[in-house]
């Protein structure tokens, strides 16, 4: 039985309205028609889902989670936790959330405003949608709809944690997050995915940010799936007039991780910043596909991705920049820098420019290389042992990007991941050189 067939068994029902059910069925039909992508699809050239489609995934059953195992506990934030796609109120905390912010579960929306939900799901599953976005619309048992009233500014970040608990047999979770940021609103959104429990899991997450005019949304997205956890994430970012949307994708764990980030600049003055840091070691496979669509004049995009491949890991970066016909005064830059540390590892980079206009400045660069020999020599000549020198340089490669994250707890998450690969690092970063 294929991936699609095994998913089909768990669809439908759930007491949803006819319109919502119809939208879900249509989305599934769309995904079914497209089929599970294979490396024969240009978009999946470097990522083979063959290993997944052989397994019989079932929608993950409701599960509970010990609050102590949650990451980012020390972060001062409004917190929402979902376990296997379902809301976990015990671990969540929305105390003193400002009145301009409305947080509602999709399940609530389904009861209160089924027409909105049906439309929302159909919008995700349009014929141009990626297969996994359609699958998410078809399968998401629950999710989150966050709305910021015009002018609302949140002084603390909103943290949304999606935990997938393995139950021994292959389990699928389909988290769904929708943010509607009104005019002149401001939000720091942190989305974190992690896996616990036993057995293979597949998280098929979809996040959509609709930012209004002059709204500023910073979206930090961390993927910390476990050794048997696979992750397919799709992010859709719509930037408003004179608005700014930032996305920072951190991929720190997972057997197979694929993240698609689509940014849409349809209004003048819009700005998009995409950053990413990923580590692929052991047998990990990490694939980022970004697409920036400049559909309006006077729009700007800037993208910096840093990747590290070690062990048998494989890192993939595909960054597409599209400038549409008739669009003027566009500036688009993109850089993909990669560190290849093992001869069993692989880096594949494909920066793409597709340009149908002339009044613009676009540039991209991609590099694949190793640690700087001179840097290593310098450190060693000052008595830093080779292992530690290496750990420092590897972390140094991503440091500037990581330190641009204004949340210390998130930075610590990255440092911890690097320290896991190089235990010497923690000591060094804490200033202990003894």
């Amino acid at each position: 039985m294929g991936l699609m067939e095994s998913l089909a068994r768990d669809l439908g029902g759930g007491g949803e309205s006819g319109g919502v059910q119809a939208a879900r069925a249509a989305a599934f039909q769309l995904a079914l028609a497209q089929g599970v992508p294979s490396p024969r699809h240009e978009d999946w050239r470097y990522t083979d889902l063959g290993g997944l489609s052989g397994q019989e995934f079932r929608t993950a059953a409701a599960a509970t989670l010990d609050g102590q195992t949650l990451p980012l506990r020390e972060l001062d934030a409004w917190r929402l936790v979902f376990v296997n796609g379902r809301f976990a109120p015990a671990q969540s905390d929305l105390t003193s959330l400002p009145p301009g912010v409305t947080v509602r579960l999709l399940e609530e929306m389904s009861r209160q405003d089924p027409q909105w939900l049906a439309e929302h799901l159909s919008r995700q599953a349009n014929p141009d949608a990626r297969t996994f976005v359609a699958l998410n619309a078809a399968a998401a048992p629950d999710g989150l709809h966050v709305e910021l009233a015009p002018g609302t500014s949140l002084e603390k970040p909103l943290l949304v944690i999606f935990a997938t608990i393995g139950v021994g047999t292959p389990a699928l979770a389909s988290p769904h997050l929708h943010v509607l940021a009104g005019r002149h609103s401001q939000l720091d959104l942190i989305e974190l995915h992690f896996t616990a429990g036993q057995g293979a899991t597949l998280t098929n997450a979809h996040t959509r940010v609709d930012a209004g005019d002059a709204a500023r949304v910073a979206h930090y997205r961390a993927v910390c799936e476990g050794g048997e956890g696979s992750h397919v994430g799709s992010v859709q970012l719509n930037v408003g007039r004179d608005g700014l949307v930032e996305n920072f994708s951190l991929v720190l764990g997972g057997r197979m991780v694929r993240v698609d980030i689509d940014g849409y600049l349809a209004h003048p003055g819009g700005e998009l910043k995409l950053n990413g840091v990923f580590v692929a070691d052991q047998n990990q496979h990490v694939d980022h596909h970004t697409r920036v669509d400049h559909a309006a004049s006077h729009t700007t995009s800037d993208e910096v991705y840093k990747g590290i491949a070690d062990g048998n890991g494989r890192g993939v970066f595909n960054g597409q920049v599209l400038v549409r016909e008739g669009v003027e005064k566009v500036v688009a830059t993109q850089a993909s820098n990669n560190l290849l540390l093992s001869s069993d590892a692989e880096i594949d980079a494909k920066p793409e420019l597709e340009i149908y206009a002339n009044d613009l400045r676009c540039a991209h660069g991609a590099t694949v290389g190793q640690l700087d020999d001179d840097g290593l020599f310098y450190l060693r000549s000052r008595g830093v042992p080779a292992v530690e020198a290496r750990a420092l340089l590897v972390y140094g490669f991503v440091q500037s990007l990581v330190e641009s994250i204004p949340h210390a707890a998130l930075q610590a998450l990255v440092t911890a991941r690097f320290a896991e690969a190089n235990p010497a690092l923690e000591k060094l970063l804490s200033g202990d050189y003894s």
Binding site: E42, E325, G326, E328, N338, L340, L341, S342, S343, A345, E346, I347, D348, A349, K350, P351, E352, L353, E354, I355, Y356, A357, N358, D359, L360, R361, C362, A363, H364, G365, A366, T367, V368, G369, Q370
Partner: protein, 482 residues
């Protein structure tokens, strides 16, 4: 910052300079493609049985292949059964022994194009193997080359005279089933050039072939094979122009280069086939497979191309860097104007240790032209210390054109260093203003800037070619900036 509109449109409407048609009787096969046609081609060329079988195997492969659709180009479906696969000037029946025996009309054609064979022989010291449609008509400087042991002849002649060499190397770089157009070429290739440079020989002159497409509805399927034996060097020049015609013509050439130990091949192309008129009617479809194999240690293959013609260009001169310390280079200027489309680039496949490659690609889009760079740099696991540097820049002129970049970087060795950078922008208004404020007319200013943009590539061309390339570029882009 504008040339007055009237001047622009006047310049934009200029006609293709090399466009005319010479009326020469053709010995033509009926349209269509089947085994009989291939047998006919083979027998017309008096080929041995193995060559025929080789063609038939290619045809068999081709029939099972789908036409590739991945390139960023659009054209109506080609009816391969409506094309003619063989056409030879009548004069072939009694092949000319010297220039005097060549049809004067043919010679006139070359003269109109500014390729005076005699002059070139004397002044430039260039041996010319001119291909008029399918059969080589004239070869020069044979004696001088023969003294050096260099074999430079038409492909048909090579099949007859040097069957062992041809058998050994034909299809060893581009196999029959490599891709759709290469398979088609392998089945029906009409003629082309064969070059063999013996060991430790520096070819005494630059070798050159001018291709022309002349007969109506005749696809031209050239096959070029250049083998540089150990320690040898050769510089090969390929250039082409074609008469103006309204129907699209298919050109599916294959070029194979083999460089053995310490050998170097420099392959330069200036391509100026008929690009179609302002509305995109007519023009050549140029679907070419070019690949060089750096088979030996310390070998080097360098591709330089200036692509200004053709309605559609689909071309990726590549290097397979097998030998230790081998070097691959690709320098390209591609220009698309009016409704021209180009999808061109290169592949650098690093297999050997210490292999190095450089890619410099300059794309210029004007009018409604679409220009795409598509490149692959692959560092295999075996390629210790491999190094690649890639730079592709695009210059945009006009707001209806397009410039696209599709680079693939695949690295499987942790000692590799790979760099890729690309930029796209329109021609700088500040630079134009600066030049014009110093009294340089806008047309000259554009030429100056464009030539500066392409300088890195032009300096790789042999001198005569560089002059021609600059001229071509200026002519192609006249009036492109408004």
């Amino acid at each position: 910052m504008a040339t007055p509109q009237t001047e622009v449109s006047e310049l934009l409407n200029r006609k293709y300079d090399a466009g005319f048609y010479t009326d020469i009787e053709q010995d033509q096969a009926p349209p269509g493609l089947n085994e009989d046609i291939i047998r006919l081609i083979s027998s017309k060329k008096e080929e041995p049985e193995w060559m025929l079988q080789w063609r038939l195997r290619a045809f068999e492969r081709w029939q099972k292949m789908p036409e590739p659709k991945w390139a960023h180009v659009h054209y109506p479906p080609i009816d391969y059964q409506a094309l003619c696969y063989y056409s030879a000037p009548k004069s072939r029946a009694n092949a000319p022994k010297s220039l005097d025996e060549v049809d004067p009309k043919l010679l006139e054609t070359y003269k109109k194009l500014g390729i005076p064979l005699e002059e070139q022989m004397m002044l430039a010291g260039v041996a010319v193997d001119a291909v008029f449609d399918s059969v080589s008509v004239h070869t020069t400087f044979k004696d001088k080359l023969a003294a050096a042991g260099v074999i430079f002849c038409s492909f048909s002649e090579a099949v007859r005279e040097h069957p062992d060499l041809v058998r050994k190397y034909l299809g060893s770089v581009v196999p029959q089933g490599d891709n759709y157009f290469a398979a088609l070429n392998s089945a029906v290739f009409s003629d082309g050039s064969f070059v063999y440079i013996p060991p430790n020989t520096r070819c005494p002159m630059e070798l050159s072939t001018y291709f022309r497409i002349n007969a109506m509805n005749t696809g031209q399927f050239e096959r070029t094979l250049v083998v540089a034996d150990a320690g040898s060097y050769v510089s090969y020049l390929e250039g082409c122009t074609a008469p103006q015609r309204d129907e699209n013509q298919l050109h599916a050439a294959v070029v194979e280069l083999v460089a053995l130990d310490n050998a170097e091949i420099k392959y330069s192309t200036v391509q100026n086939w008929y690009p179609g008129d302002e509305e995109g009617r007519g023009g050549i479809y140029n679907f070419v497979t070019k690949r060089g194999d750096c088979r030996g240690r310390n070998s080097k293959i360098s591709w330089t191309q200036v692509e200004t013609g053709s309605a559609i260009t689909w071309k990726y001169p590549s290097c397979v860097l097998k030998g230790e310390n081998s070097v691959g280079e690709f320098y390209s200027v591609a220009v698309t104007h009016h409704r021209q489309q180009a999808d061109t680039g290169t592949k650098m496949i690093h297999l050997g240790r210490n292999t190095r490659s450089t890619i410099i690609s300059k794309g210029i889009s004007a009018g409604r032209g679409q220009n795409a760079y598509r490149g692959l740099v692959r560092i295999a696991k075996s390629a210790e210390n491999a190094r690649n540097y890639t730079q592709c820049d695009s210059l945009l002129m006009g707001n209806e054109c397009g410039a696209h970049t599709f680079p693939y970087v695949e690295v499987r060795n942790a000692s590799a260093k790979v760099e890729h950078e690309a930029s796209t922008s329109k021609i700088s208004e500040d630079q134009l203003f600066y030049l014009r404020s110093r009294g340089i007319g806008s047309e000259d200013a554009v030429n100056l800037i464009v030539n500066g943009f392409c300088k890195e590539v032009f300096k790789e061309l042999p001198m005569e070619f560089a002059v021609e390339a600059q001229k071509l570029l200026n002519i192609t882009l006249e009036g492109a900036v408004g």
